[in-house]
Symmetry: C2
Subunit: 180 residues, 2 copies
């Protein structure tokens, strides 16, 4: 990810979370993609799972399992933690949603169906999250991993900071800076 391949992200990674877009479309498309994906792999896209994905799609933010659980209860589904966790596990396992480890929270996948290693930008002020493709395996970490024979199976790549929208609203001082 260092030098050479630096625009692997740019084309696809329209920063959904921070950009203006038609949100209804975004939910509908997401559900449709999930349905297609499940049909293709003979997975059961049940009501709870569908509802959880819908809840996630309604935001470009990560939601905690208990927030989701509250909304499930409002919709008449079971109200115990396993209900939410099981649906989330399913969605995550099949690439329809991702867990943001830094937040212990979940977000709908922005590129369902594509086999990808996601990377995220998390705004600490407004909590919005944008998904991009990561190419860690090709970057410095991948190089180090190959050099010593470590076999990478999954990656967690999360950048925390301030999104462009919030950066505008807040005096520079309040933002601090960090250039990692």
């Amino acid at each position: 990810m260092t030098s050479g391949s630096s625009n692997d992200l740019e084309g696809t990674a329209s920063p959904m979370g921070f950009a203006h877009h038609d949100h209804d479309t975004c939910v509908i498309d997401g559900l449709a993609a999930a349905e297609a994906c499940c049909a293709k792999e003979s997975l059961r896209f049940t009501p709870v799972r569908r509802k959880v994905l819908e809840i996630l799609l309604q935001e470009h933010r990560a939601l905690g399992a208990y927030t989701i659980l509250d909304r499930l209860r409002d919709e008449g589904f079971g109200s115990q933690p396993p209900v939410a966790y099981r649906a989330l596990d399913f969605l995550v396992a099949h690439g329809l949603a991702h867990k943001i480890e830094r937040l212990n929270a979940f977000i709908a996948c922005a590129h369902p169906g594509e086999n990808h290693a996601p990377a995220f930008m998390i705004c600490r002020l407004c909590d919005s999250v944008a998904e991009a493709h990561s190419v860690v395996a090709k970057g410095a970490l991948g190089t180090a991993a190959r050099a010593i024979g470590f076999r990478i199976e999954r990656t967690v790549v999360e950048a925390e900071g301030v999104c462009p929208t919030c950066a505008e609203k807040v005096p520079d001082k309040a933002i601090g800076n960090a250039s990692v």
Copy 2:
């Protein structure tokens, strides 16, 4: 995998966790570096903080806060969660330790004093963790972030997989593959 059980892989410079090395030195050096670092910045490297760092240095694994807490109790320190969390917060804040978000656990920093954005390789079989430098901010994610005006303040980069030592012990089939 406590102090003794490192593997005999050839050490490239960075991936400490999987490389063969003199472990005592590693603890002593770590504490010395921390001391130097705290002295330089006028920070108080108190007994609890020192002990927690020592506990972490004794392993190249991430330890949960409650595991650390148990050991603190054995050493006669306070035994309530805040005791461990406060020491850990201090160490993390000053770059002497890192939190592995994927595991909700903590590990001693392998490059204390250097201002760095750490990246980790986590073996899911033996739980050992190696630290490398990450350059996310300069890589593809950094490029994308700059392109849209997202200001990265902190990064989480964690690769989960199988370390070289475990890969040797386990039939390939059981390992699976992933090439992210």
